[in-house]
Every structure is written in structure tokens, then in C-alpha cells.
Symmetry: C2
Subunit: 125 residues, 2 copies
Amino acid sequence: MTAVTIQCCAPIAREPLSETDAAELAVMLKAVADPVRLRLLSMIGSHAGGEACVCDLTDAFDLTAPTISHHLKVLRTAGLIDGERRGTWVYYRIIPEAVNKLGALFAPLTEPASSRPGELELTPA
Amino acid sequence: MTAVTIQCCAPIAREPLSETDAAELAVMLKAVADPVRLRLLSMIGSHAGGEACVCDLTDAFDLTAPTISHHLKVLRTAGLIDGERRGTWVYYRIIPEAVNKLGALFAPLTEPASSRPGELELTPA
DNA sequence: CTCCTGTTTAGACGTTTTTCGAAGTAGTAC
DNA sequence: GTACTACTTCGAAAAACGTCTAAACAGGAG
């Protein structure tokens, strides 16, 4: 599930976003536009091994487990993370293509993308 | 007004975001996490001359003028755009540093922050 | 099997957001 | 001055959101 287009749009200042692209990007941005989810994403992404257990994440907040679970679901539905159960615990990992898509959206127009070394290797699937 | 820290954070996957940084970034992301505001930002940024009149923007939507005005205010409060009245019309323009900040947040981890030239002069509070 | 821990789902409640119509402010033209 | 246009502010209604508690589900241990 969670079918998300990996690459769709030029940087925001290159040309006006279409209604469709804007709607799709807004879903992803809305997922990230919350302090708790931002921190969750950052914790998962920066965790050793590239993945983090829900149990690790829950302890870092003053929130109940269901609330954390809800936020993780929002991130997962938006296509930003993916989760997998291994035995007792569930591990989440970032989906880099999705994050790169956001990075590309806000990339500066000043220098052509070519001058940034390995900016994005992602070509649309 | 609209005092916004220009640079505060490493890419999201480098290290866990602090509670403070996450809260601050979430404000900016929330401003951008709406289809209408995304399109407004894109229209302003890609408009010839780097600025757009509210009258141009309003016509592109099926929304009333007060609603567009509200969205523009949200973007302005978040520090993403700036507006100026010249005679009869009000013109808005993007604040590139703010957009770059978002781009940096979602940038891939390939190069260490030190290799980006004089990105910014402000250190976090 | 039962019990315990980790995680998700369901439902409820208060807060925030999006939108509108109506009224207010800023500026030009007459 | 009045009249007209451009834009913003105000106040209200509906929808979406974040959080909780309670209950369900998944898996390991006894």
C-alpha cells in the first residue's frame, strides 16, 4: 500500500505547482508538519542501523503509546516510513525517496541541480 | 516582525531533532502543508520579477478573497513570504532563506554541513 | 492453556484549522 | 468631500487534528 509518487515536481519556485501535485505534496508535508512526527522521523532516520523500535521512540516523549502509534501511522500512510514486526517488536525505517522528494521541492534555484554533487539519484520508478 | 531563525538544523536523518527545533520547524512546515498555500508559494516564487500581486493569486482559486488573504498571512507569519503595498496593489515575494532552510532539512546526508559555503550567519539561540 | 509485554485500533473530547460573509482600512479617481 | 477598487480583519460554522482511555491484537514465557 501507500503508493506514493516518488518524484513529481520541480522546485517550488521554478513553476506554479499544479492543483494535483500540490494536493499530493500537502499530504506528505502535513505528515511532517507536527513537532512530534518531525522528531519521530528524525529519530528513526538517525538511529543506528537505519531503523528504530517503537519502544525506543515512545520513551522519548511525554505521550501515551497509542498517541505515538497514531503519529507513526500518519507518517506511514504518507509514505515517509515503513514498519516491520520482528518478533515482539516493531521496527520503523525511513523511506529515503520520499524525504528526497521534499528536499527537491525546496531546493534553491540559484544553482542548477547539476552543480550539487550527488544531489539525487532518484529517477522516477 | 516575523523573526525566524534562518538556519538551525542538520538534515533530518543526521541526528535527532531537539524538541525546540522540531517545534520551530513544525510552524514553518505547517504553513506549507496546505494545497492552497503550497500553490500560492509556488505562484509567488515562480512569478516574473520574483513577486506577485494578490489580485493575480486570488483569481487562480475558487476561494474568496478573505480566504486567500488568510493563507497569505499564514505564510507571512511563518516567515516564508513578505508583502509590500505599492499604490493600489499588494505584492508578495518569497524569502529564499526560509525556503532553503526547509530544503536543508530534507537534504540527503551525502555531504557534511561544513562543505556548504556561507549558508548562514545565525547560530541557534 | 493463561499471563504478560508491546503495539494498534476504536471512540470520545477539546483545540485548531479552513472557509465564509460582513465590515473595516488603504488608496485612486472624480 | 463621495465613490469605487484592492485587500485585510472580524466573527462564526464545519471539518480536521492531537490526545486520551479502554479494548483488541500479536507474540513470547511459564
